[in-house]
């Protein structure tokens, strides 16, 4: 069942593409390994949407590791993605109080690799918690702060563009506003985060 793909990218090339965030690499990652996860989730009482979510999350785990340069792959990329996806789905199933899965692939059995995946996932969970809280804090921040910070840090608009968009008199003014907003966000975030 090896379909002819052109060009056939190696794991290495895929990961490099992923680090650069190219659509091409992502498309390949989907085409190559999503069917595996899709099959796994659907044979274990999930549906297609569940599989999409799981695969998306697995890719996020991979992506964020690649991005901060902390990825050391000690197994095949396929095994890594399968194992991560499997864990994530198991967690979902556990919440639905089901604990058994039928494997369609061999998950990473090497103790070291399994330990590494455990760690990756706990880092991921922690980050999830952080990001959920961040989303929450941003909402509670209210306007115009939320949009201002969003424009600057997430949409990466320049200070000049923001000055114009919000009608500030000059960029310094905009910067001061941004700083104030950031301080408010910091307070909101950390009071929750540390508690």
């Amino acid at each position: 069942m090896k379909e002819s793909r052109s060009p056939i990218l190696t794991d290495e090339e895929l990961l490099m593409g992923l680090a650069e965030g190219t659509d091409d690499a992502l498309t390949h990652l989907y085409r190559r390994y999503f069917p595996m996860v899709l099959h796994f989730v659907t044979t274990n009482s999930g549906n297609e949407d569940d599989a999409k979510d799981i695969y998306q999350e697995a890719l996020i785990v991979l992506y964020e590791k690649v991005r901060n340069g902390s990825l050391e792959l000690h197994c095949q990329l396929k095994t890594y993605l399968y194992s991560v996806g499997r864990r994530l789905w198991l967690k979902q199933l556990a919440q639905r109080s089901r604990f058994m899965v039928r494997d369609v692939e061999t998950p990473a059995s090497d103790e070291f690799v399994a330990g590494q995946i455990d760690e990756d996932l706990s880092v991921h969970e922690e980050r999830d918690r952080q990001f959920d809280l961040m989303a929450d804090s941003l909402t509670r921040l209210g306007e115009p702060c939320r949009t201002l910070l969003d424009d600057f840090y997430i949409q990466h608009l320049s200070m000049q563009e923001i000055t114009e968009k919000f009608g500030y008199t000059n960029t310094d003014n905009a910067k001061t506003q941004k700083y104030k907003c950031l301080m408010r966000l910091k307070r909101l975030f950390f009071t929750e985060y540390k508690a």
Partner: protein, 337 residues
Amino acid sequence: METNEEKDIENILLAYGERVRFKQQLQAIQAGADMNAMRQDAKSYRSESTGAVRSLWQMYRTTLAVAASAAIITTFGSIFLYQTYQQSHKQEQQYSLLSKEIQAVKSSQRQLLNDYNGRGRGLSTNPAQVAGTGFLLTGDGYFVTNNHIVRDADSVYVQSTKGEVYKARVVYTDQSHDLAFLQLCDDNAFRTMPTVPYSFDARPSDLGERVYTLGYPREEIVYGEGYLSSGTGYRGDSTAYQVAIGVNPGNSGGPLLDEKGNVIGIISGKQTTSEGVSFAVKTNYLLEALNNIPVDSLKGQPLKLNRRNTLANLSRKQQIKRMQDYVYQVKVFKHKD
């Protein structure tokens, strides 16, 4: 602290932004992906692994379950049996080298009494790290012991029963047979001794041969006797004998002598799991190793083994009395790393 949090919040915000962006990108890729082809792939995945098997599975489920449990029981049963068998015959790591790691050497009274020129004092204040036994091959200072005693040594000293200490030079080592040859005559204090009273017998000795050894499991020379229990050593090692003799750390490198006072081997180790199972390298291999010593390591002093045995007609006690001057304790100092 304040600035730290400021940096943190910026970083989290940026990372959060990146996550949001990446999710959107993934969303887009997913939407654009050819879901039908992937579903097809997933299905073929299924047929690869189960497919046709599935209907059979439904049919024979119970039979299979029974067969599987029988198989499991048999498998684990045999594994268990095999393991118990292995454990009872386990030989791994049961071979222990008999060099002695010394934490603190108590200097015996004898040593102090004989410490005329203060040479012994250096040793007692600076205890060696490894100790074993060794004995002279020739009266003029060639000496043999186990390689594992002098391995990685910074300096090697030998000490006689009288407490005299000489510095020794390692002339040659034979790792495969665990032998090391030393020379004492580098040390000016060493005076050539009369020819050694024992001879070396390279012919294989017979099972049941009464044997004895002298060694230094403690600061004092200790006699031990037993018999040859096998013509091969640890795990059938044909270069060694198995000897039923009680030896302890520190005995390593000691001579193994037969009734007549022929050296038939060198004590090298014992099996940790059973008492009185010791091993000795055969004299044959000692001679072989001797022949391998490069001529220039000998510094022009040929190594000629004694062929005449002067112990043969003596009683055991007399033998020991004559022998013990030729058996030394080997003290080894190592670089601590």
